[in-house]
């Protein structure tokens, strides 16, 4: 049984929709309509001015972006390199899982420590 061009058409439409959704979200982000203040800082006394800067949040964002972009590229390369279509998502390397786990642990530890410090 041959489904003809329908799977390719569906793939194209779905990819277009996903890219369009991502583009809209990035556009809203750049325009400032998505609230992202306080992503790396905290306003402790509520006066509207950031009081604390959190480096653990910066490292979490960098590690997360690098990890997920690397995995997406690995999947796309596997899909284009193989002659047959993929029947399973590529597995994530253990080293990447350990790095992301450590990054999240560091972020949560910093958050918990600041919570204890404030009482």
């Amino acid at each position: 049984m041959n489904a003809g061009p329908i799977p390719d058409l569906l793939t194209f439409i779905l990819l277009t929709w996903l890219i369009g959704l991502a583009a809209v979200i990035v556009y809203e982000f750049v325009r400032g309509r998505i609230w992202f203040r306080g992503l790396f800082t905290t306003d402790v006394d509520g006066d509207g001015i950031a009081d604390e800067f959190h480096p653990e949040r910066v490292q979490l964002l960098i590690m997360s972006l690098c990890g997920i972009v690397g995995y997406a590229m690995m999947t796309m390369e596997a899909a284009s390199a193989s002659n047959a279509t993929l029947t399973v998502l590529p597995d994530i390397p253990e080293e990447l899982l350990m790095i992301l786990g450590a990054s999240n642990t560091f972020y949560l530890s910093g958050k918990y420590g600041r919570m204890l410090q404030r009482g």
């Binding site: 369009g20 998505i34 306003d43 998502l89 009482g119």
Partner: protein
């Protein structure tokens, strides 16, 4: 009509309906009818708006993995297997979000408990102390009577 043709027609109609929903959602986001401004916001201890990094990470990971899974499923024509590593990654992201939210709500609950307890009025304390002292002479009298 062959069963395969019927199945193809049903698949095409369902695909058109689902893609129609997707197009409507995308259009509503672009026109502002669906507001994404608070998609990353969590209220902090002061009740003000604050973007959450764990929410952003959860959003990015879910979006990318779901997108890849969807594309590969459509290309292969069947549901593909999800390796354990991907599930662990989603678990790390989701767990970090839940723990972060729990830490944030824990900080909110601590503030009412820090209020000092009201002190008892000082007028009541001397009256309570006098009662035992007044009872002592009566107790001594009874002991002396018993000793006789």
């Amino acid at each position: 009509m062959l069963p395969f043709d019927l199945a193809m027609m049903v698949a095409i109609v369902l695909s058109i309906i689902l893609l129609g929903f997707g197009a409507v959602v995308l259009g509503m986001i672009m026109t502002g009818q669906i507001d994404l401004s608070d998609i990353l916001v969590e209220s902090n201890e002061q009740g003000s708006r604050k973007a959450s990094l764990s929410r952003l990470q959860f959003l990015i990971f879910s979006f990318v993995i779901a997108g890849l899974y969807l594309v590969i499923c459509v290309e292969s024509g069947t549901f593909v297997d999800v390796p354990p590593g991907v599930l662990i990654l989603l678990g790390i992201s989701g767990g970090s979000y839940v723990v972060s939210k729990g830490l944030g709500s824990g900080a909110h609950k601590k503030q009412p408990a820090a209020m000092p307890q009201p002190r008892q009025p000082a007028a009541q304390q001397p009256a309570q102390r006098r009662m035992p002292a007044q009872q002592q002479p009566a107790a001594e009298i009874q002991q002396s009577v018993a000793a006789q």
